[in-house]
Amino acid sequence: MINSANKAALFCGLILSAPAIQAQVDEPEDLFALDLGQLMDMEVEIATGTKKTLSKAPAAVTLITADDLKKTGATNVIEALEGVPGVHVRYNRSFYTPFIHIRGTNTNQVMLMVNGQSLRSVISPWPQDVFWKGMSVNAVERVEIIRGPGSALYGSQASAGVVNIITKTANDIEESEAGLRVGSFDTQSVFGQYGTTLNEMRAGATYDISRTEGHNPYIVSDKSGSSDDIGLGYKNVDLRTYLAQDSWRIQADFIHNFDTESGLDGGTGFFDPITSAETRRINLGWDYSNRNLISDWKLDAKMHYQNIYSSSGDGYYYGDTKQERSNEHHLTTEVSGLYSGAADHEITLGLGHKWLKLDDVTSILNGVENTGTAAAFAEVATRNENFLYLQDVWEFSDNLEFTVGGRYDSDSDFDSVFNPRAAVVWKSSEKLTSKLLYGEAFRAPSFVELQKKRYAVLNPESSKTIELAFNYVVNRELSLSMNLFEFDSKNVIKFSGSTGTYYNGGNYGVNGVELEAQWVPRNDLRISGNVTARRPDENSERNDYEPYKDGYLRVDWEFKPAWNLDVQANWTADRRRSSSNSTSVTTGAYNGLARPDLDNNFVVDTTVRYEHSNQWEFAASVKNLLNDDARESTGKTVLLDLPLPERNVFVEMRYKF
């Protein structure tokens, strides 16, 4: 007869291979004083490696390393984000601009950064500049994704999550490399990195020059009811240079995206075969970090400048040609200190200033410059922001940690905001870590939203998130985690199409669960995956484009030394159109047709990578292996939504020297 306790033990044993209760053995004071034979009698505990620090972080954090990017065959950072729990990438109707969504919220509630600097343009509410096509993986050292609010540290826009892309700096580029990649859709890239030491100084550079014709999908019906393939080609140059010595680092980047085809016009949804847009970005940065200047303090200072120039080129606009250009400057100065002089406390204090200037707005209609503010899509303007943040991580005991902090943002364009956060991290055993997290966040209106406000006041959006998270290391092979969250936002900024103005709309919320697992049964085999389910408030504010469920599975198998096979599957499921979006609006035969809910996407990619020697490395990928008819949701002027790339292949070679 098996009693219930035994049943439970059996269940645990079967499922988790949980260890039997072990005898208490006191750990010796000094292992190094022991004889080798005695060492062999010591009981060893399961290591969790660097995961431990991630699992103890007071937030839900995912890390994508350069190694992950290589193994999964990602050529653009965007491709890797789809596998992160809670993250869904869809595309804008015009330019197929990638929109990163976290936890079923609006893309405007995500903060996207490169080396801690926001990619946002002052003219749009999006987390990136308007013609952004993602970023080549070659320059990337790692990507940190935080699900949950980040305004208490990073300021505006970090409501639902933060994506921070960290580039390889001079110190990361130990060896030089040159690479070549060719693939479907007439895509070619040359890329590489170079690192050297000049006297005491480290110097490094990365480059990537790419072109593609794009996957040019067939659109069944545009706004005019016509059917055709759309062009989505573009060219890109990405150069980044670094110099580093002791406590300082400087960097200079030049990124130029040009001959960018829009496919469908942004304002109207008509086919647009003539637009050829460009964005040129220049980044200059200076970073300083010193631990020894003042005792118990680690001091950081930085000054970053960005110049973003965008031009739509001559584009199609209601039968006319229209060109829109803008030029903007951002300057961020920040000083922060990490104080570790108080026992059990780690205190971060920072302050800074941000200067944003839009100094050129040009609008040309049929070759004639549009003058007067009414005709322009934006007006020149300047904004000044000051901010101050403070955070204390209090290690109450070995296994209990409290984090409290907040950030005060004072802005020349609207009332000041304060966004607090609090976290409790309890490591109840070597295996189980539990977290309770709370945070508030905001999004500052863009220049255009403020300039075209509907009412006298346009307030920043605000949000509150509460999370409960568990990380459980079952054994050396298996770890699991679960996150439960509830997100609530209010004053969401909305656009009124009839008046062309912006206003604070209603409130909306999403709650959900995110489950992750990683299983490493052998040194040469790693399996990881996640599933997420979300339940948005069923009101008119619901984000129509977001799936209720999604999942991801990844397998890495080193089937022979120096060979790696990676297979990943992305599943996007349960997308429900709201009634306002379920009938097509176009001219001609397709007008008024029902738009059924989108079918699920199931996209499988596979990559084989082979390190031939110290010098040569080869890779080949087949993406969308099963040729799934995957689509991303868009508005009602495009009847059957936006098709994603069909089956496509890439090959790559690298030479290290």
């Binding site: 439970a8 269940f11 645990c12 499922i15 988790l16 949980a18 260890p19 039997a20 209760i21 072990q22 208490q24 053995v25 006191d26 750990e27 292992l31 190094f32 022991l34 080798l36 034979g37 060492l39 062999m40 010591m42 009981e43 060893v44 505990e45 399961i46 290591a47 130990e174 055993s429 070597e430 295996k431 189980l432 568990f470 459980y472 079952v474 050396r476 699991l480 679960m482 489950l515 697992a517 040194n523 995956g529 599933v531 999942g551 599975l553 080193e558 030394p561 120096a562 599957a569 599943w571 499921a573 699920n600 199931f602 499988v604 390190e611 020697s613 110290n614 099963l626 040729n627 799934d628």
Partner: protein
């Protein structure tokens, strides 16, 4: 084909996670006074260095961790000690070039697929290689640690050590679970 896999995935994935999660909650972990794996392995590493003789001793002993450092703060336990009156310097190395000058190379699990590259780069040089990946001994690593039933043990490839002019003490050979001669 695609639809079929999708259906299986939809059906199985949700249930699998539900089972794993309920298991997480029900099976509260059992704690035992065990020693962190890499704290123990650091002590082993120190012993391997102590029980091996190099053709000549340098001013400081150069210990290198190749790949992602699994030791973390436990590495300090080694560097705060001396090997035959010589200070021990430890560094984490990511590239083959960076291995230059190392006397002992620990090939971290993250770099276990690069054992052959390490072998090539140290050919003929007196460098002791240590790993903790199964099958490493067969790939030519001189000392390999394995964990079984909650204990750490090690195996030795004496043939390789001799080819690199390293002499291993009889004690090391006696305690090894297996010696390749």
């Amino acid at each position: 084909m695609g639809k079929w896999i999708e259906r299986v995935f939809e059906r199985v994935a949700g249930k699998l996670f539900a089972v794993l999660l309920s298991a997480t909650v029900i099976c509260l972990p059992v704690t035992a006074a065990e020693i962190p794996e890499y704290k123990l392995k650091a002590a082993f590493l120190y012993n391997f260095a102590s029980f091996t003789a190099w053709p000549e001793d340098s001013a400081t002993f150069q210990l290198c961790i190749f790949g992602e450092d699994p030791f973390g703060s436990h590495l300090k336990q080694i560097t705060s000690r001396k090997r035959k009156k010589h200070a021990i310097e430890a560094r984490v190395v990511q590239t083959i070039k960076g291995l230059n000058g190392c006397q002992l190379v620990f090939i971290a699990p993250s770099a276990s697929n690069r054992i052959n590259q390490v072998q090539d780069s140290i050919a003929g040089k007196p460098v002791l290689t240590v790993a903790d990946s199964s099958g490493a001994l067969e790939s030519g690593v001189m000392v390999n640690m394995e964990t079984r039933k909650g204990r750490v043990y090690f195996e030795v490839n004496l043939r390789q050590a001799r080819q690199h002019n390293l002499t291993m003490s009889s004690k090391l050979l006696r305690l090894a679970k297996r010696v390749v001669r």
